[in-house]
């Protein structure tokens, strides 16, 4: 394994994954997860797996963060609403 590109992509993915866990605010975590999804897509492409890279790009950088953001919004809205009626 002498391909430095693979090493760089692997380390980038590891760093993004660590950041995604370390960021505690779910709204920001969704953004970091989108970055992680993109980094994974790059890694998969470098590992000669364009199919997986494509699906990771569509799912990891768009769909999952979107679902997380919508859930955060729903939960926040409920908590705000509760504060108002109290």
């Amino acid at each position: 394994m002498d391909d430095p590109l693979i090493v760089v992509a692997l380390l980038l993915v590891a760093a993004c994954a660590t950041a995604a866990v370390a960021v505690r605010d779910p709204e920001r975590q969704a953004l970091v997860l989108a970055v992680l999804g993109t980094a994974l897509a790059v890694l998969f492409t470098v590992l000669q797996a364009p199919d997986v890279g494509l699906s990771q790009l569509a799912v990891g950088s768009a769909l999952t963060p979107l679902l997380l953001m919508l859930s955060v919004r729903k939960v926040r809205r409920r908590e705000r609403g509760k504060g108002r009626t109290r």
């Binding site: 590992l47 797996a49 939960v75």
Partner: protein, 116 residues
């Protein structure tokens, strides 16, 4: 060392995700950490299937047999799981929303206090 680096990265991602799930104070955050754990399995699978100097196993523009190709089996496994995993994440988030409706909180610690 270099021949096991991708596997070690997969182990690192998986354990970080587990740490995140256990120490999470917010169920939505925990679901995000579970997504991190999932990505460790993709890294592991694709690392097992990689071949030095190999190209993608797609023969629409490569003459069959002219170049070595990487393992397509693990790629197919990872590919289906990426999409199906996202829908399972959606199901988990739906459960989180339901929990928030029922109990008014998404903090796992407060939830266990409510039950006890």
């Amino acid at each position: 060392m270099m021949s096991v680096l991708p596997y070690l990265v997969a182990v690192w991602i998986f354990l970080t995700g587990c740490y995140g799930i256990v120490t999470s104070r917010n169920l939505i955050h925990a679901v995000g950490c579970l997504a991190v754990c999932q990505s460790a399995t993709y890294v592991l699978l694709l690392a097992v299937g990689y071949r030095d100097g190999g190209t993608a196993p797609v023969f629409s523009d490569v003459e069959p047999g002219s170049r070595p190709v990487v393992d397509p089996v693990v790629q197919a496994l990872a590919l289906t799981d990426v999409v199906v995993g996202a829908t399972v994440t959606a199901l988990l988030l739906a459960l989180v929303i339901q929990v928030s409706k029922r109990h008014g909180t998404v903090d796992p610690d407060e939830l266990s206090e409510l039950r006890g």
